[in-house]
């Protein structure tokens, strides 16, 4: 019953989304505001409907309704309850429903928030968001229905269908299947893949006692939080895209769409960044290779829209400030949106199989169809308004903030392009030569490193460059102190042999940027102290309060610098060794000695056999901790290597249990990494997120003011 109700709710939300997308467009074109209003209501209605459906699916997962195919495939009785809940996004069908649900949250919020102020744009915003949403719900309703149940035919065959056998529905389903079988080609197979409405007559419900359970690698807190963050980031970027499309459709291509969506962009960006950072942490904690970023295609799928979105985030500032780059910003947000859809496609279709691609299905062609349509519509809309998107201003000087932002865009897009090439090259290769190739981290690091370094350098210099025009002398004056300090520091480190040439170069750039970023805080605060007589902390506080976006942005820059130090440290100075030792023996690596104490083996919850080693770690002769690296072997045959990690401010001691003497458990093989400065990566990530919060946090007093202004306007003017 619950499953049927869920299927009905999803179907109703599909109708709402389709109706909203069409009625809104029709209403505004034919000057029938009542249709626009009703479209908005339908759009908002998708939120309670999809919420209901998602909650029902969670209910089915928690109660262990294994007749529901999705529940059977991603959960099992032995799983803890919180994992049963989060299994909502543990598989294909649930992920898509979850995506749609989040999308409905964002679109409803944007309608409630921006309706009065952006009256002219909103009808098209409804169309664009609901068009996207309708596509995702369509996938859920017709191809990947999480509420479909398993039925057993009299001949023992197991089939999937939403409803049980009934005279009318079953014959309808049979008729449809016969029809689909006659359609040739891709369309035929798409029609054939549609989830059957009803089971054939005579079928009985499959009574399954237990499910398959979630992929063991996903049973980790990081993996529980990571996908929702990425999805929130993805759907967050759909809102600015919808506003951009609305601006193009209405011809209101001035800058109001940018202002209306600035915060949405930041919210989407915040979640995407969080998702990437948490994904890295998950990899470090669970995947057991001693690193946090492997340039895996699915990581790249989230990184690509992040790169384009970051370029957009910077580039809109030129438009707000100087009325320039209007066309370019449109191109960037369209590019970001397409990469969001493409990224979802990559993760959901299993096109490029990777450790993350747990979900494989036949929805690929549908995504390609949708993407193609999105490209054509976006480009056509952009072309229509191309001339109206002229700049108000010109570039006054090559050494100016505007030019620096342009350079930032260039660097982000080059990296984006490189990641795209690397991610897809294996497909090109397979298509053209029939042979798959691997494009590993070695390639990515090699090709992206110079551009990341250039970005860090630009991040240090650009904030010092004034708008319109700046002079070399002025820039030089601001740079001299950080430059001297950095060169002395790096020079000394280099002279004493702590650094390689490459890491010295990287640290020089990072140090310079760190210096100028800190100096930027100091200059603002010091100027306030002197001219306004505020005490230093108050001045700093007011500075943040008065211009959160600017200083939030600098905090983000600071986070990036701290992360960069961590990345350089953990890459350039990582030590590793692998050795086999008997109980009581030790392994020495760097300043550390690790003693292997004992090994134990026991069955554990979730149908796994755990092999766990106890080791004691000494640093410079002093005991610093005990670790328990372990190896989980799931009944499904999948292994997982969970590291033991001793995390300290300056470095991590990270040990993996690689192998052991099966019978006597007397000896074991360990792989040890000493990862210097890796905590700086996480600390930098934290600073980064705090900065984004500072920049994105709504200003309530300002909003009240603005709301009052809007309310004071005569009704005629508002519309």
């Amino acid at each position: 019953m619950t499953a049927i109700l869920g299927a009905i709710l999803v179907f109703l939300s599909f109708l709402c989304a389709v109706y909203a997308a069409l009625a809104s467009m029709w209403g505004v074109r034919n000057d029938r505001p009542e249709f626009v209003e009703s479209a908005r209501n339908a759009a908002i209605l998708t939120l309670p409907l999809l919420s209901g459906a998602s909650l029902l699916l969670i209910g089915l997962l928690v109660s262990g309704a294994f007749q529901v195919e999705y529940v059977w495939s991603v959960s099992s009785l032995s799983m803890p309850d919180y994992l049963k809940v989060t299994a909502l996004w543990g598989g294909q069908a649930g992920s898509l429903l979850f995506w749609a649900w989040l999308m409905s949250v964002f679109s409803a919020a944007s309608m409630l928030r921006n309706w009065e102020r952006e009256r002219a744009l909103m009808p098209y915003v409804v169309s664009a968001t609901m068009g996207t949403l309708a596509f995702f719900i369509a996938l859920v309703v017709f191809w990947e229905n999480p509420f479909a149940r398993l039925w057993i035919l009299p001949n023992g065959e197991v089939v999937t269908a939403i409803f049980g056998p009934s005279a009318i529905l079953s014959s309808l389903t049979t008729g449809y299947v016969n029809f689909a079988a006659r359609v040739p080609g891709v369309l035929g197979s798409l029609l054939h893949d549609v989830t059957p409405l009803a089971a054939p007559l005579g079928a009985v419900p499959a009574r399954l006692l237990d499910g398959q359970g979630l992929n063991p690698l996903l049973r980790h807190l990081g993996m529980v939080i990571h996908p929702p963050m990425l999805y929130l980031g993805f759907v967050g970027f759909v809102v600015p895209y919808a506003f951009a499309m609305a601006a193009l459709a209405t011809g209101q291509v001035s800058d109001s769409w940018i202002r209306a969506t600035r915060r949405w962009t930041l919210v989407g960006w915040l979640f995407l960044s969080l998702g990437l950072i948490l994904g890295g942490r998950w990899a470090y904690d669970v995947l057991g290779w001693g690193g946090y970023w492997a340039w895996d295609p699915v990581e790249n799928a989230a990184l690509m829209p992040w790169l384009a979105g970051t370029a957009f985030l910077h580039s809109v500032m030129i438009q707000e400030k100087r009325g320039m780059l209007r066309r370019w910003n449109m191109v960037l947000i369209i590019l970001t949106y397409l990469q969001v859809i493409w990224g979802t496609f990559l993760t959901r279709s299993g096109l490029i199989s990777s450790v993350h691609s747990f979900a494989q299905s036949a929805i690929g062609p549908l995504f390609l169809l949708f993407l193609g349509a999105a490209v054509i519509i976006s480009v056509r809309m952009l072309m229509r308004r191309w001339d109206e998107l002229r700049s108000d201003n010109h570039l006054d000087a090559l050494l100016s903030r505007e030019a620096a932002f342009l350079l930032n865009n260039l660097l982000f897009l080059i990296i984006d392009f490189e990641v795209f090439i690397g991610t897809h090259f294996t497909i090109f290769s397979e298509l053209l030569t029939g042979e798959k190739v691997t494009v590993g981290p070695q390639w990515y690091n090699f090709v992206t490193k110079p551009f990341f370094l250039a970005l860090v350098l630009l991040m240090g210099i650009a904030p010092l460059v004034a708008w319109k025009r700046s002079s070399i002398e002025r820039l030089g004056r601001s740079l001299i102190l950080p430059a001297v300090l950095t060169l002395v520091f790096v020079g000394v480190m280099f002279a004493f042999g702590f650094l390689t040439t490459g890491s010295a170069l990287a640290l020089t750039v990072i140090g310079l940027t760190l210096g100028t970023t800190l100096l930027e805080f100091h200059r603002g605060a010091a100027a306030r102290t002197r001219s306004r007589g505020e005490s230093y902390p108050v001045a700093l506080w007011t500075l943040f309060g008065r211009n959160r976006r600017r200083y939030g942005g600098y905090v983000i820059h600071l986070g990036v610098v701290v992360m960069a130090i961590g990345v350089v440290g953990s890459n350039a100075f990582q030590q590793e060794t692998q050795q086999t030792v008997a109980a009581g023996q030790t392994i020495t690596i760097g300043d550390y000695i690790m003693r292997y104490d004992e090994l134990e083996r026991f069955p554990a919850v979730d149908d796994r056999t755990v092999t766990r080693a106890y080791v004691t770690v000494f640093k410079n002769g002093r005991e610093v901790g005990q670790l328990r690296p372990r190896h989980d072997f799931y009944a499904s045959g999948q292994p997982a290597t969970i590291p033991g990690n001793l995390s300290q401010f300056d470095e991590d001691f990270y040990v993996l249990l690689v192998a052991w003497e099966e019978i006597s458990l007397s000896s074991a093989t360990f792989k040890i990494y000493v990862n210097p400065l890796i905590n700086w990566v996480w600390a930098g990530g934290l600073i980064f997120i705090v900065g984004t919060f500072i920049a994105a946090w709504p200003d309530f007093s300002e909003e009240r003011q603005r709301a009052a202004q809007v309310a004071a306007l005569p009704a005629a003017q508002r519309a």
Partner: protein, 180 residues
């Protein structure tokens, strides 16, 4: 470690003890049967050094040195025996490429078809720089071509008399421009 050496006169004895300890531990280590194959002089680190650049065709995107599956363990054993036979790192990689194709290499070869993946970033860079340069030129030309009363009214250099007040004023001005 250096500070543990003590006075110069004691160095030889310490060296002797260390060497003995090292020897003893080597003997002990040899008595433990190594997991990833018999211990014959090729260390796990040397095997991993080679393995970290290789990928088995089954466990995509997991380098061979950290892959926990049995198949990868077998491959590592194979690397070990090849190294024991005296083959160099390059020869071992060549051996695997011959048997399983170029996909085993983490870094695509810079020759043949896969050279494309190395060339494309350069093409992207070139196109990017050209587009960037051209649009900057265009924006600059438009700037010099049009009369700019706005620019002449606002002197770029700020009055140097009170730089702090000017800086705060600029911050406030930028705040106003951005406010929303």
């Amino acid at each position: 470690m250096l500070n543990a050496w003590g006075t110069p006169g004691r160095i030889p004895r310490l060296v002797l003890i260390s060497v003995l300890c090292l020897f003893a531990s080597l003997l002990l280590a040899a008595s433990v049967s190594a997991q990833e194959g018999p211990d014959t002089g090729v260390t796990d680190d040397e095997v991993n050094e080679v393995a970290s650049d290789l990928y088995c065709p089954i466990c995509e995107n997991t380098p061979l040195d950290v892959c926990p599956t049995q198949a990868c363990s077998d491959w590592r054993a194979e690397i070990r025996s090849l190294l024991e036979d005296g083959r160099s790192e390059a020869q071992v990689k060549e051996y695997f490429v011959e048997r399983y194709g170029v996909r085993v290499l983490g870094e695509p070869p810079r020759t043949g078809f896969t050279s494309i993946v190395w060339i494309l970033p350069l093409v992207g860079l070139a196109v990017g720089v050209v587009v960037f340069g051209r649009s900057v030129m265009q924006m600059r030309r438009a700037a010099s071509g049009s009369a700019r009363p706005e620019a002449s009214r606002q002197p770029v250099r700020e009055t140097p008399r009170d730089p702090d007040a000017a800086y705060v004023a600029r911050l406030e001005q930028e705040l106003k421009d951005f406010s929303l």
